[in-house]
Subunit: 436 residues, 2 copies
């Protein structure tokens, strides 16, 4: 029988990885709940139609789409926003607003695997439904920033762009295929400057147009420094109003205490068919080839697309498979202790010996000591080898002769010292030694 492996693009998470991941989840969860977001979880699959309605072309191409045994066209979720918006439309349209939900869940996209990219991956994210105000954008972007701070990351920026300005920009250039232009601008970082200029010309821009695009993507940096440039570049009323909104957003983010991490980058589009105004993403410099570690934005049309009353919304998702390698690389993840503190070895096959070993193990476990018991019936030497390999600090030996004298043996694995202790006081003595 050939050995079966896991499916390409997926991976197994082993105990140490899981423990670190759980630590990251819990830190992020604390911040999310501190901002009064509440956890929801939708099904892993939805009708494929839902994702087609919502998502950009690329996401639909990447769907794990199939028919269930009842002939339903379903797909594994490629992100959570569609599902959460669907849940809102189904059951929460009449609930008090705003709704603040968070999730920590797995998503699926059929993409070419690469650094920090798997076909099954996890996101921690929030959706804030029912406010069109800049205050809501500020709350969400502040939370986004604080989520990274909560896991110890400090060297990152949250870069804010704006879809309204990109739309206005396309109009200004007389470009009809505004989505095509955004798509091109979105890919600028994957090309050299020459390639980018070439692509812009091929797209149909003249010298003036190319120059304007190059000015646009230069609007990137500290808000106070670059927003005035935006005011120069844009002339329409709509654009002016949106720039004013960005000023206000930046001002509120200052009150949240997160200005240090906030940048403006008008070259950010983040997908194409989905966001309606403010968009943002987090970037942490790294040598791992990992780009954005999360992003989000305002999506004021999606709920209507799903058949709900028009309802504004904003949210973000943090890419866990992007974030964790960077935390690991920076040494920001905690040391994980997986071994037990005490290992109890019954010697031989005597029934009383075995039962005493169990009782001591359970006594320690009840006192919340991580205690384990030898379960394979192997010889003492092999059992001690096993405890040594695991790095267990203390071993309790339960033998028949000792036991007849009411004793068991405690072995300090570091020093090799052994000590006979009263069976009845064994748990207590070990707790003392461990300082529990």
């Amino acid at each position: 029988m050939a050995r079966l492996d896991k499916v390409k693009g997926t991976r197994d998470l082993l105990p140490e990885e899981m423990a670190k991941r759980r630590w990251v989840f819990e830190r992020i969860r604390e911040v999310f709940e501190g901002f009064n977001f509440q956890e929801v979880l939708t099904p892993t699959f939805e009708y494929t139609e839902l994702f087609k309605l919502r998502s950009g072309e690329e996401v639909v191409k990447q769907l794990y789409a199939f028919q269930d045994k009842g002939g339903r066209d379903i797909s594994l979720r490629p992100d959570m926003t569609s599902s959460v918006a669907r849940l809102y439309v189904n059951r929460f349209q009449n609930a008090p607003k705003p709704i603040k939900w968070y999730y920590i869940a797995n998503m699926f996209r059929y993409e070419e695997p690469q650094s920090g990219r798997y076909r099954e991956f996890w996101q921690a994210g929030v959706e804030l439904i029912g406010s069109d105000r800049v205050e809501a954008d500020a709350e969400v972007i502040a939370l986004f920033t604080q989520s990274y701070l909560a896991v110890g990351l400090e060297d990152f920026t949250v870069n804010i762009g704006d879809r309204i300005l990109l739309d206005e920009f396309a109009k200004m250039l007389g470009v009809e295929d505004d989505i095509g232009l955004m798509r091109l601008i979105d890919k600028k970082d994957k090309m050299s400057r020459e390639e980018f200029v070439g692509a812009l010309r091929e797209f149909g821009l003249n010298d003036d147009g190319v120059e304007k695009v190059l000015s646009l993507i230069e609007i990137k940096g500290l808000p106070d420094e670059v927003l005035p440039k935006a005011e120069e570049l844009f002339t329409s009323e709509e654009a002016k109003a949106e720039i004013k909104r960005l000023y206000e957003l930046v001002d509120l983010l200052d009150a949240y205490g997160v200005s240090k991490w906030v940048r403006i980058d008008l070259g950010i589009a983040r997908g194409f068919d989905y966001y309606t105004s403010v968009v943002f993403e987090a970037i942490a410099p790294n040598d791992l080839g990992i780009g954005s570690i999360g992003g989000g934005g305002r999506y004021d049309n999606l709920i209507e697309v799903f058949g709900g009353k028009p309802t504004p919304a904003t949210g973000f998702a943090i890419g866990i498979e992007r974030l964790i390698p960077i935390l690991e690389w920076k040494g920001l993840l905690p040391e994980i202790k997986l071994r037990p503190d005490v290992y109890v070895i019954p010697i031989g096959d005597d029934r009383e010996v075995k039962k005493t070993a169990i009782e001591i193990t359970q006594g320690l476990r009840e006192a919340t000591v991580r205690a384990d018991i030898e379960l394979t019936g192997r010889k003492l030497r092999k059992a001690l080898d096993y405890a040594g390999k695991l790095g267990v600090p203390y071993v309790v030996l339960v033998g028949k002769k000792d036991l007849e004298a009411g004793k068991v043996t405690l072995r300090d694995m570091k020093s090799g010292e052994q000590k006979s202790i009263e069976k009845e006081r064994a748990v207590e003595e070990i707790l003392n030694i461990l300082g529990v």
Copy 2:
């Protein structure tokens, strides 16, 4: 645009349900880790072949099987044991034994939805790989029992059966289709006694055979009372040895302190093609139509079936969608507080007002008070209505005039009393009032 709903047999988990579920997960996780099991997570889908190799016919019929865009035949996992055994074969055959892994994860089966049964459901389970000893069975069954105790359940039994005895029983009756017989016995609780006897005759048993089956399924109750009956019924050496093993198991479980919940039930088969000796399941009496709330057993052949060296293993899974309704019904789940403790309302559109409201909110959040801020720009009365609906105990009102005097207003929502407090000392005062 028609409203889209979730897919049949799945469900949305809302904040209160999620909070309760998380409480259950964390209690179970603590016990699992106390027994030194370590968390792993495998991909949501595997090659379909894996599940076909492992699973009983019924599970294969219920697979969510499909092709990915690369033409791979894959399926959503119907349980975790196959995936964990696959992981073991891929990467852990040479690791120190035993391996003790746990998981808390979602599974998928295309079954007819009913009480406590969904097409996507969660299990918390463990696998102990690398010991064929009864000590390993005892450790796993003790942990199984303590997991239910950890969530406050006390009115339940853990019923232990044995596949070796069922095999011996089939031999004793001269039945060649031993799996067919087990399948029939497994379904006994879904039929009246008459129907069951009829089904046995139809299966081909004579009077003596039927009587023996009826004796077998009577071997059900406290170990001390029913194991002697088993000794009478069975005559083969293999059966005698296995009964001796059950006596030893029961004795070790006594040392674990879980005897009170342990029963023998030789009529339990739990699936057909998978377990090799001890099997067990937990039953909690309820009015909800919910049967087994979890189960497991020893599977000494599976790893070899997956191409590994022959390696004994044992484990269990707790059905979360079975367990939670019973805990709910018994009132064992904790009260969940979802509302914020403080709601901060900026009055009007003044920039300083908004920024002060944010600063107070953030000050409270940093002190781990669950504080929220009005984000919709609605009128004061509506904002207070919202806070009232949520049951928020305290509201902070930030108004322009107050602020010019360095003040904000704290409103006790229960009494309606309002109090002017210094803006600079607002966080501190609120912490005092909340007793934080």
